[in-house]
Each structure stands twice: as structure tokens, then as C-alpha cells.
């Protein structure tokens, strides 16, 4: 249907001139996949139906978005298409012919490429070496990296990707690494690309650039599957959208005929109230203050350098930044999990630099850690034991060194109720809870203490919409109660929705702190990329 209205395809000839042809050949020289159809795919895991007779299709020249919460079955479906899992039932057709895909190798042969959310690149190798990795050399035992490089340049030219085949991966930005992944897939002859949450790690500008590339690819006849949970991106880039929930296909619609609210309702199963704006709260005195704080990072690259921030009572300071720009280091230095190498941190009037996490608990500093399974809970401890992790030594949970199980149990019941933690019992081990409920457990523990300051690091990462909105509402509640909150997030929407002021972190430095009014997406995005808009203008 859509392919009928496709314009002519262009083709890059030997003189690097685009030739418009009405053929089924893609600019990369690959044969087009006119349509790919998944029919009645079912995949069972012990106890769970991950995919329940799912139909899905994508045509040449369209972006078909696959939308769903965690556990809805979208990654399972894509792993089946890419040959990582094998379906229990159902068939896959490419150009109306049934195909069996038993391994990623088969998928690649069929013209399917996948851009994984976490890039599959070797950091210490060059672009060309990464592209050639796993492929046979055209010269037998000798390498053919020169030919690979030539081809990479050809492919990069088509979409103006500007990639140096001899650059090492570690030298490239996240956005550039993603382009390497795209080239890798094209090099292997992909005509259909699966993009698994490709925007999660990008700045807004990089997202725009990616979308531009995607639009061009669609025009040229590629078929793209776009996996995301960011509704506005789905609406912006996709032609059609399919929503999965609990392993079932809920709907497939032309994107132009749906709204954000529809999509959210299909995803969650009921109406969702988006927290879009919030009333001004009474901002009080400075509660949390960082003065020229520095620290080392784990990988020996830049740590925090000279970070100075102030957060007032009743204020949420958003920390925006692309993943891996020392957000973790920032959270850990404040919460005593990491040593500072310089500077001072104050909570209220008292200096807290270098205090141990236990002492910070006493001073009512709460921390919602980014790695909740690593730092937030003990997997093999019960819900109740995790609830008292920070205050197990204090009355009423223990007295003269003995735990008081009754009081612990009463406290846990209360928090389970109050924070809607879904758990079979309080003796259930934390590892048996879903991500959202683990986060609610952490939230219950950290927030129920009425903290003076909260460091919330990626508090909604990996959570479904319902749980995310719940976490956000709780943070706003704490803000109302007068806590100073630092919200570290890679999700710009979240930052914009919740923050009173926004600080942008880049390579361990605070680029700027903007008020809500000053902060536009463009401005924040440039800062996230390490560019000072003013400087750029003067240069």
C-alpha cells in the first residue's frame, strides 16, 4: 500500500552520481525487501507467554514503530526476527516467501540488520576493523581492510554519515558509534533495519540527525522497524505503529491517525495522566550545596571536576546529560559511595564531605541509586529486610543488637500498602519482584524517612509508564514537603517535566545551570554535546 506511493529510488553508480531508477535495488546495491511479514508468532517461556500469536509487518519505504512497555514482548519478537530466539509457532515471510531464521547469520543473509541498544562494537578497534569483524576476507587469509574502508566510505557517502574508517571506536561520540552500527548493517547487506531504542543514548540534536538519516533511508526504499517507548518520537518518525501489551498485539494504526494519549492507553491498558507541568513550590533556603567538588572515575578518564551546585528546599534540580558523563560519579560522591578528591559538600549548614553512607542516613540524605539491583537492594534478601536496609540498627527495628521482627514486619506492611509495592508477601526475595516494584521498594525506603535531600539517579530507567509516573509523582510530593531533590536523568522529557532548574553535565563538568524559562531543548541539547551556545555564536 505504502510502497505503491513510493518515489523512485536512487542508486549510486560508479562515478558516485545518483541515478534514479525504478528498480528494486537500494542505494547500497542491495535488493529491496518489499515487505516482511510475521504471522502468528508465539513464544513461550516457562510460566509466561512472551508472544501470543503476534502479526506484524513492515514494508519497503516505511518506518513501522513497535511500541510497548518492558515485558510487552517487543524485544522477544525482534529477537525472533533476528534469529536469536526460535518461535514456538508462527511464520516469517519475506517478499511473500516463507523464510526460516535460525541464527543472526540467517537474518543477515535474508537482508535483516539490527542496531542494538547497546552497541556491539569493540572499543579498541577501528571502524573498518569493527565492520570487517566476523566476515570472511576477500583475500582469504590476508586482510582486506583497504577494500572494507573503501566500501565504508561509499556507504557513508550515501547518507552523508561522515565516518573515518580508520578512527578508533573509543574516539567516537555515541552518535557516531551508532552510525558505525548502521554502516555495519548496510555493509552486511541489510535492506530491513531493526533499530532497538536507538534514541535512548542520544542528545536531542543527535536524535534529529538520526531521524534525518532514517527519513532518507525510507525514501530510498529501506524498511525500518523502530522500537521505542518515547511516544513523541514514535509520532514524529513512524508511518505506522503497532502496540504490544502482555505479549499480545493490541493495535496497528497509521501514526497519523493516532494520538499520544491513544498510544499510552493501548500500552498501559488504561488512561494515563501525564505529569506535564507542576505548580510552583515554595523554594526555601539552600539545603544541598556542592563547592568545587572533584572526584576520580572508574575508567581512568575524566571524573568530576570543579562541580558547584546549589539545591534549595522544595526544589528539583535536574541534571541533564548524555549517558556516561559522570552522572554516576556525581551521585556517588554526594552520597558517600565514592571519595572526593577536592571540594566541599554541605547539607544544610553542615559539611558532609567524606562522610560514610551510614552517617549520611543519619543526616536524612536519601539516595535512589541508578543501579538498583546492584546498589539499591539485596537480591537474596526479603522485601522486609530490604525495607530496613538503611535503618536496621535503629529503633524500633532493632534494640540492643537484636532485630525486632514484629516492628519490622509492621513497618514493611505499612510501606507496601502506602507505596503500592506488588509482592506476594514481605518474605518474598527482592529478586523475584519486577523492576517497577523494586523501584517502589527503594522509593518507599528512601522517601518514607522524610529526607531533607534526595539524590535520584535515573529513577525511572527501565520502568513502565505507570511505575514511572508513580515515581515522578512521589518526587514531586517530596518537593512539596520541602526536600531538596537532585534528579539525574538521561531522559530529557523527564528533566523538563519535573525540574525547577536544569544543570547540564558534560565530561564531569557542569556546563551551565538554566532556569526553566531559559531552558529550551536546543540550548540544553547543545550543552549536553559540550557546546556553549554563546561561545559558538561569537566564534
Amino acid at each position: 500500500m505504502i510502497s505503491e506511493v513510493l518515489p523512485d529510488f536512487r542508486y549510486l553508480d560508479s562515478n558516485k552520481e545518483y541515478v534514479m531508477v525504478k528498480s528494486n535495488t537500494l542505494p547500497s546495491g542491495q535488493t529491496r525487501i518489499d515487505n516482511m511479514e510475521i504471522c502468528g508468532i508465539t513464544k513461550r517461556f516457562p510460566g509466561v507467554l512472551a508472544n501470543d500469536h503476534i502479526d506484524f509487518d513492515v514494508k519497503s519505504g516505511e518506518v513501522h514503530a513497535l511500541l510497548g512497555e518492558n515485558g510487552a514482548g517487543k524485544s522477544t519478537l525482534m529477537k525472533i526476527l533476528y534469529g536469536i530466539y526460535h518461535p514456538d509457532e508462527g511464520e516469517i515471510f519475506i517478499n511473500q516467501k516463507p523464510v526460516t531464521i535460525n541464527s543472526p547469520m540467517d537474518a543477515i543473509k535474508s537482508g535483516i540488520g539490527m542496531i542494538h541498544q547497546h552497541f556491539m562494537l569493540v572499543q579498541t578497534l577501528t571502524v573498518a576493523e569493527n565492520v570487517a569483524l566476523g566476515l570472511l576476507s576477500s583475500r582469504g587469509l590476508l586482510t582486506d581492510l583497504d577494500r572494507v574502508s573503501k566500501r565504508i566510505i561509499e556507504l557513508a557517502d550515501i547518507y552523508n554519515l561522515k565516518i573515518d574508517p580508520d578512527a578508533y571506536i573509543w574516539q567516537l561520540s555515541v552518535g557516531q558509534q551508532q552510525r558505525v552500527e548502521i554502516i555495519k548493517a548496510l555493509y552486511r547487506g541489510a535492506a530491513l533495519l531493526i533499530l532497538d531504542e536507538p534514541t535512548a543514548v542520544l542528545t536531542p540534536q543527535e536524535v534529529e540527525e538520526l531521524f534525518a538519516i532514517m527519513r532518507q533511508m525510507v525514501k530510498d526504499g529501506y524498511a525500518l522497524i523502530f522500537i521505542s517507548h518515547k511516544l513523541h518520537e514514535v509520532i514524529e518518525i513512524s508511518n505506522r505503529v503497532t502496540v504490544l501489551r502482555n505479549g499480545k498485539r493490541i493495535s496497528t494504526h497509521l501514526t497519523s491517525e493516532t494520538t499520544k494519549e491513544d498510544l499510552a492507553r493501548w500500552m498501559v491498558g488504561h488512561d494515563i495522566e501525564f505529569i506535564t507541568s507542576h505548580e510552583k513550590s515554595n523554594v526555601g533556603e539552600v539545603l544541598l550545596k556542592l563547592e568545587n567538588v572533584s572526584c576520580n572515575s572508574d575508567n581512568g578518564r575524566h571524573g568530576l571536576s570543579d562541580v558547584s551546585l546549589e539545591i534549595h528546599s522544595g526544589e528539583i534540580l535536574g541534571i541533564a546529560g548524555v549517558s556516561g558523563n559522570c552522572q554516576l560519579e556525581l551521585a556517588e560522591t554526594i552520597t558517600g559511595m565514592r571519595k572526593t578528591t577536592g571540594g566541599h559538600i554541605y547539607l544544610g549548614p553542615d559539611e558532609i564531605t567524606g562522610l560514610a553512607p551510614g552517617e549520611l542516613t543519619e543526616r536524612m540524605l536519601s539516595y535512589i541509586p541508578e543501579e538498583r539491583m546492584r546498589d539499591g537492594v539485596i537480591r537474596n534478601f526479603s522485601v522486609a529486610e530490604n525495607m530496613i536496609l538503611r535503618e536496621h540498627h535503629k529503633s524500633p527495628y532493632s534494640r540492643s543488637g537484636f532485630l525486632r521482627l514484629k516492628d519490622i514486619s509492621a513497618h514493611t506492611d505499612e510501606l507496601i500498602e502506602q507505596f503500592q509495592v506488588k509482592t506476594p508477601s514481605q518474605a518474598t526475595l527482592a529478586k523475584n519482584l519486577s523492576g517497577g516494584n523494586i523501584q517502589k521498594l527503594v522509593l518507599a525506603r528512601e522517601i518514607s524517612r522524610n529526607p531533607r535531600a534526595i539524590i535520584a539517579a535515573q529513577p525511572t530507567r527501565g520502568l513502565d509508564i505507570g511505575a514511572s509516573e508513580y515515581v515522578r509523582a512521589q518526587l514531586l510530593e517530596q518537593r512539596k514537603a520541602g526536600a531538596a531533590i537532585m534528579l539525574i536523568s538521561e531522559d530529557l522529557d523527564e528533566i523538563f517535566a519535573l525540574s525547577d532548574r536544569i544543570a547540564v553535565i558534560y565530561e564531569g563538568k557542569i556546563m551551565d545551570v538554566l532556569t526553566c524559562e531559559e531552558a529550551t531543548r536546543e540550548r540544553v541539547g547543545l550543552l549536553m554535546a559540550g557546546v556553549h551556545p554563546k561561545k559558538k555564536a561569537s566564534a
Binding site: G71, A356, G358, L360, T361, R374, L389, N432, S434
Partner: protein
């Protein structure tokens, strides 16, 4: 339903593993032209066939249990304490020194003092690797094994020199052993067998260790550090301190095992130069007993009795069916191998369940739901 079945299987895994080991042992017995049924009957009779047999089994089990309790604590903190032997030896030396040199006290006061000295000695011997691990990142498996070697040589030196039995010092034989403890300084016997008061102490301590691990903040912290040091640190627990405490407590229990062995069984330290001179390999068998008991102090009681019975019964079996003593060692080894590998298997099954759970992201919740509706 399926998960309940598999967890039931997990619970009986050690028993099944033992049966499997005995089955392999039976094949070996057949190859030696012995009747396995007769042999195993002899084994059973030797271990549990009479009051005396039971008493001997319990005497053997006591140091296993005491060491095993220490192992429960150390391993729960995820520190692999394999220094039970050395800690037992040092504990025995400390206790014996008190028993031989402190005079003019009522028997029970001195015995208490000697036991505490044993605890102290073992605690020091476990605490040193603890400090090395916590503050200098020295692998505790290596350091505790080294400490075993040091303890053995220290004992050999003391038994040939400063602590040698004055009678032996005068005699030409120069057998390396200490003087005998006076009768009032020996642990009282419970029944007219060799079963001594130490067995009772061990059982009481098992209950106390259970309380310690699951009812006190100290136990909470030890377990938290063992399960997830990052989260423990975040919970305000000083991780390094509890690593030291866990090894120190592990050593203390082994030290007590050494002390009770001297005060309840041998009444002196004797050695043939090897570390097993008087420990009866309890420093290692205690680890096996604790693992057999799934690192649960109360389950370690039957586990220790099981291994004690196996060793005592094996002696009878050897006499009855005339098989080489090496077979007994082999049978022991088989049980250990089967039990330990069944433990690995159990963990693998558990991990596989978790992996499956991870792949589908939210299954635990759905499983919980289906359980609720099923009930």
C-alpha cells in the same frame, strides 16, 4: 506447582547426592569382591548400631559442627575461610596452655577460661586473614591456607620445645606431645561413653548462631555484606569491618573446636607431624558439613552427625569386610564430591530460573499472580 516440585528436589538434593555416592561406592566394593549390602550394614552398625557407636559418632561430629558453625558465618559473608585446621590448632594451643599453666582454680572456671582462650586463639588466627582481606585485598583462600601451614609448624615447634610433656622431655622417645590435663580440668562426660560436654555446647551454639544470623543486626550486616557489598555499603554498613568480623568469628568457632577436642577427647595435644595429628581433618570436614547443611547452622547439626557417622562407621566396615582403608577415604571423597557438585547443580538451576525470569522481564509478578489464583 512446577516450581514447588523443583524446590522440593533442591531440598533433597544432598540426600540424593549421598545415595548416588554410596551407589558408586557399591560398585567399587563389588570390584573388590565385597558385598556392598554387608559392607553398608557394617557401616550403619558402626555408626549408629549401639550406644557406644552413637556416642563415638557424636564425638566425631562435635568438631565438625563447631567448625561448620564458623563456616556458616564466614561463608554467609562471602569469605571463603579454609583455615579451619590452623584455627583449630591455635585454639587448642591457647586452651592447653591455660589448662597446663593456670593453677588453683575450680575445674569449671578453668575449663571456661581455657575454652575462651581457644576462642581467642582461633579468632586471632582467623582475624589476621580477615584484616588482610578487608584492608589489603589479600585473597582469603590463600591466606587462610598459609595460616594453616604456619599453625602446623608452630605446633610442631611448641610440642618439641616449650610445651613438650616434661616426661617425654626426659625420656629418649621425645614424642611430641604436651602433658596430660589434670582430671578436674577435663570436659565432663554426658553418658558413660566418650561423649563429652563439648557436644552439648556445640548444639547450643548452633542455635545461638541461628539467632545471630537471622535475629541480630550483626547477622543482618554479615549476610548483607556477603550477598551484596555494594548495597550493604549503601545501607550504611562498614563492609570491611564485617569481613574481618566474619573471618574472626569463623576462626573463633574453629578455635573452640580445637579446645574441646583437647579438653574432651585427647586431654593433650598430640601430633604425628601432620596437621591431622589431632584435628581429624575437622577443619576441612567442617566446611563440607556446613555446605551439606546449606550454610544453615541448624541443618549443620545433622550434616555433622552424618559425616561423623560416615567416618566412624567406615572403620567398622573396614574391619568387617576387609576392604583397604583407602576405600573409606575414597567413599568419603565421593560423598563430598557428589554433595558439592549437587550444590553447584542447584545453583545452576536457580540461575537458569532467574535467567528465564530476566528474559521475560516481568514474569515473577505474573507467576505470583498465578500462584494467588491457583491457591
Amino acid at each position: 506447582m512446577k516450581s514447588r516440585l523443583s524446590s522440593l528436589l533442591d531440598a533433597f538434593l544432598p540426600v540424593l547426592a549421598t545415595l548416588a555416592a554410596l551407589l558408586v561406592g557399591a560398585i567399587m566394593l563389588l570390584l573388590l569382591k565385597a558385598n556392598p549390602l554387608v559392607a553398608y550394614k557394617a557401616l550403619w552398625d558402626g555408626a549408629f548400631g549401639s550406644t557406644n557407636a552413637v556416642a563415638e559418632t557424636l564425638v566425631k561430629a562435635t568438631p565438625f559442627l563447631l567448625v561448620g558453625l564458623g563456616i556458616c558465618i564466614s561463608f554467609r559473608a562471602n569469605v571463603m575461610n579454609v583455615g579451619g585446621e590452623g584455627q583449630m590448632i591455635i585454639g587448642a594451643i591457647f586452651a592447653t596452655w591455660v589448662g597446663l599453666n593456670v593453677k588453683g582454680m575450680p575445674g569449671w572456671v578453668l575449663i571456661t577460661l581455657a575454652m575462651l582462650a581457644g576462642v581467642l586463639g582461633g579468632g586471632i588466627w582467623g582475624g589476621i586473614p580477615g584484616i588482610l582481606k578487608a584492608y589489603f585485598n589479600v585473597n582469603e583462600i590463600l591466606s587462610t591456607i598459609m595460616m594453616n601451614a604456619i599453625a602446623v609448624q608452630l605446633m610442631n615447634y611448641l610440642l618439641r620445645g616449650p610445651m613438650i610433656d616434661p616426661a617425654q622431655a626426659k625420656a629418649a622417645s621425645q614424642i611430641p606431645q604436651t602433658a596430660r590435663l589434670e582430671e578436674i580440668y577435663r570436659l565432663p562426660r554426658l553418658v558413660p561413653t566418650r561423649l563429652h560436654f563439648g557436644a552439648l555446647i556445640a548444639v547450643i551454639l548452633a542455635i545461638l548462631v541461628y539467632v545471630l544470623l537471622w535475629r541480630t543486626t550483626l547477622g543482618f550486616r554479615i549476610r548483607a555484606v556477603g550477598e551484596n557489598p555494594d548495597a550493604a555499603k549503601y545501607g550504611g554498613i562498614k563492609v570491611q569491618r564485617y569481613v574481618v568480623i566474619a573471618l574472626l568469628l569463623g576462626g573463633a568457632f574453629a578455635g573452640l573446636a580445637g579446645a574441646t577436642q583437647v579438653f574432651g577427647v585427647n586431654y593433650r595435644i598430640i601430633t604425628d607431624g601432620s596437621s591431622t595429628g589431632f584435628t581429624g581433618n575437622a577443619g576441612f570436614n567442617g566446611i563440607v558439613a556446613a555446605l551439606f547443611g546449606q550454610l544453615h547452622p541448624l541443618l549443620t547439626i545433622p550434616a555433622s552427625i552424618f559425616f561423623g557417622g560416615l567416618l566412624v562407621g567406615a572403620n567398622t566396615m573396614q574391619r568387617m569386610v576387609q576392604v583397604p582403608s583407602a576405600l573409606i577415604t575414597a567413599l568419603n571423597g565421593l560423598v563430598v564430591i557428589f554433595v558439592v557438585s549437587s550444590e553447584i547443580w542447584r545453583k545452576k538451576r536457580q540461575r537458569r530460573r532467574e535467567v528465564v525470569a530476566l528474559q521475560i522481564n516481568e514474569p515473577p509478578e505474573t507467576q505470583a499472580k498465578s500462584k494467588e489464583t491457583g491457591a
